[in-house]
């Protein structure tokens, strides 16, 4: 019992350290940004970094905490991006105050992504392992294909939808919001670093609370031994679905944040490669380790930009760095060396 309390406290302590580090990073960057001492290159990456951090933390909930490999996380980001921007465009006159409009659109995005997560979760969570992975990949591709062929317009009489070709038949004052392969153009860029920071904090609060709650312990019990968990009367489907839908909803709001940082967005952006990229953040940061996900997401988003001096060899160097980092972090010698340095952390790792 004492041991249990001890680890619980440790987890809590790490959670607070995570919050604290995120806040410190935000404050430092905000101060630097207001004094103009950071490059526009880094400044331009702040919002996407926030979006990727949210993506990584939410995927970590599925992969690290629930223990199911998902290869279609970008699909939820896509749902969030398209519904979020649609909401923002249609609320333009209703809510002139941009931050509020952004917040409302992110909530709408989260709701739609959660709905998508629920619908996809019904079949997906019946499967296991690599089969589950391939089905999430399939759903990601289906979502991409649908948004590539979806047309959504808005005029006085409300929303118009059409699939395959543009038959929305809008009135003169209407605007075509989603234009199939054209995606969404002329998006108002209302995403800000502060909004991104708040979303990251909300994500962390949601994820940490879920993980540390009764439900979270149930989810981890299912991950560690499904049969044992079932035999003590846990409702497997319910808890799996809870983690999956939460993860989808957070990814959806990240999608909305991401989309409204650029003036244009297309469905092909959220393809298999983006899902894989987010998965790389999660694995590199450590399964179940949220702080690791945050650091990995930020570092790997900046890395390709930092490598620009290699010009033609940039992506080659990126690939080598990726392989070397994976080898180094999984090197037994290095692992035991690190463990010796911080004797307190060994138990931590096992707990996580």
């Amino acid at each position: 019992m004492a041991n249990k309390l001890n680890t619980l406290n440790k987890t809590n302590r790490w959670n607070y350290i995570t919050y604290l580090l995120v806040i410190i990073a935000y404050v430092i960057l905000q101060v630097m940004s207001s004094t103009g001492s950071i490059s526009s290159s880094l400044k331009g990456m702040l919002v996407p970094i926030c979006a990727y951090v949210v993506m990584a933390v939410s995927l970590n909930l599925t992969v690290g905490v629930l223990g199911e490999l998902s290869l279609g996380h970008a699909g939820f980001m896509s749902v969030g991006a398209f519904t979020g921007v649609t909401a923002a465009v249609s609320l333009q006159n209703l809510i002139p105050f941009a931050p509020l409009r952004l917040a409302v659109s992110m909530v709408v995005a989260a709701l739609f992504a959660a709905l998508a997560g629920f619908l996809i979760g019904i079949p997906v969570l019946r499967l296991k392992g690599d089969y589950l992975a391939i089905v999430t990949l399939a759903f990601g591709e289906i979502i991409k294909s649908i948004f590539n062929n979806l047309y959504v317009g808005l005029d006085e009489s409300g929303f118009h939808f059409s699939l395959l070709s543009d038959t929305t038949d809008l009135s003169e004052n209407g605007t075509l919001i989603i234009g199939g392969p054209m995606g969404i153009g002329s998006i108002q860029k209302i995403s800000t670093f502060t909004a991104g920071f708040i979303l990251v904090m909300i994500t962390l609060v949601v994820v940490f609370h879920l993980v540390n709650s009764r439900a979270g312990r149930a989810i981890m019990a299912i991950r560690d031994n499904r049969i044992a968990a079932e035999s003590v009367g846990l409702n497997i489907t319910k808890y799996k679905m809870m983690a999956f839908v939460t993860s989808a909803a957070l990814a959806g709001s990240a999608g909305a944040l991401f989309a409204m940082n650029y003036s244009t967005i297309v469905a092909n952006k959220f393809d298999f490669n983006t899902s894989i990229l987010v998965l790389v953040f999660v694995v590199l940061g450590g399964l179940g380790n949220m702080l690791g996900s945050i650091i990995a997401a930020a570092a790997l988003t900046i890395l390709p930009e930092a490598l620009r001096e290699f010009s033609d060899y940039r992506m080659l160097v990126y690939a080598i760095v990726l392989i070397l980092v994976m080898l180094a972090t999984n090197n037994p010698t290095l692992k035991s060396f690190l463990a010796r340095l911080k004797p307190g952390k060994r138990g931590e790792k096992e707990a996580a």
């Binding site: 992969v63 089969y131 391939i134 089905v135 289906i142 060899y313 080659l316 690939a319």
Partner: protein, 305 residues
């Protein structure tokens, strides 16, 4: 007749998926790892063959053998450097490393061979002379008075697929090394205790898988003859889907899954919508996996309580 035409197109596309899927499934079945770099090894094989045949005018067969040699060596080197140190690491770490290898191969190809598309020479042709005495390059046989055309590449691909499938089945069930591979796939620890060199066996699997990738690359580019550094990635993902479809790890399953995937894709385009064909293919995959959660021919492993 149109239906038959579509069926033949489906089979020729499917046979390409199948031959790539064979390599995927072989590596997965034994090393238990999703080798996302497989598609890029295919691309390397195709480039080697292209340069051998087009630039240095070597006979196609020499080109193929050369491509197989290079890919086998590449497979062994990649395995030795990037995968072997991770033998005891979690499978996800290996997956990410494979993705890193995939990026590496694509970008190295871009630097070595530039981004300009190359047109792959079709080696599956017969030079004949028509009635007027002009030389004609024939690349397909006509059935029903020219209403149906089956290209030699398709016939060759299917034949090679079946040969490889039978060879792999024979190899894994009859030879010492093949049996060692199956033992490793069942239980690495027990295999080691029985005196099997697990590391060497897994390395061997990669060598064979990469050699197969070279053949797949040559066939892929003979059938659809443009070659760029990203040529392997999309067919790679499709073939991975095909392997899962048929039951990943199952060698006949890869052939069946590949063929079915190709046929479904063509039929979806022909009879439903060219725009949504990918969505339809993946939807069918999901439905199949729900009905048969381990794929069409996959073994349903009973859970131990």
């Amino acid at each position: 007749m149109t239906f038959l035409n579509y069926l033949i197109s489906g089979i020729s596309l499917g046979s390409i998926y199948a031959i790539i899927a064979l390599g995927y499934t072989m590596v997965y079945g034994i090393a238990k790892m999703l080798n996302f770099a497989h598609g890029d090894v295919i691309m390397v094989g195709a480039y080697i063959c292209f340069y051998a045949v087009s630039r240095y005018s070597l006979p196609p067969l020499v080109g193929v053998i050369l491509a197989m040699l290079v890919c086998t060596v590449l497979g062994i080197v990649v395995e030795r450097l990037a995968y072997k140190p991770l033998r005891s690491a979690p499978s996800l770490a290996v997956l990410i490393t494979a993705i890193g290898v995939s990026y590496f191969l694509q970008n190295a190809a871009l630097l070595l061979w530039s981004s300009n598309p190359k047109v792959f020479p079709n080696a599956f042709v017969i030079n004949t002379i028509d009635e007027a005495g002009n030389p004609v390059v024939q690349s397909s046989i006509d059935l029903f008075g020219g209403q149906l055309k089956v290209s030699f590449v398709t016939i060759a691909t299917i034949a090679i697929c079946i040969v490889i499938m039978l060879a792999l089945l024979w190899f894994t069930s009859k030879t010492r090394l093949g049996k060692a591979m199956r033992a490793c796939s069942e239980d690495k620890g027990a295999a080691q205790l029985m005196g099997i060199n697990v590391n060497a066996t897994i390395s061997m699997t990669f060598a064979i898988g990469s050699g197969l990738a070279a053949i797949a690359g040559v066939l892929l580019c003979s059938a659809y003859p443009t070659l760029v550094p990203t040529t392997g990635s999309m067919p790679g993902i499709k073939a991975f889907t095909a392997a899962v479809f048929g039951g990943i790890g199952s060698i006949p399953g890869a052939l069946l899954g590949g063929l079915l995937l190709g046929i479904i894709e063509i039929f979806a385009k022909a009879y439903i919508s060219t725009q949504l064909s990918d969505a339809i293919v993946f939807a069918v995959l999901i439905v199949v996996l729900l009905v048969k959660p381990a794929g069409l021919l996959g073994k349903q492993i009973r859970e131990k309580v």
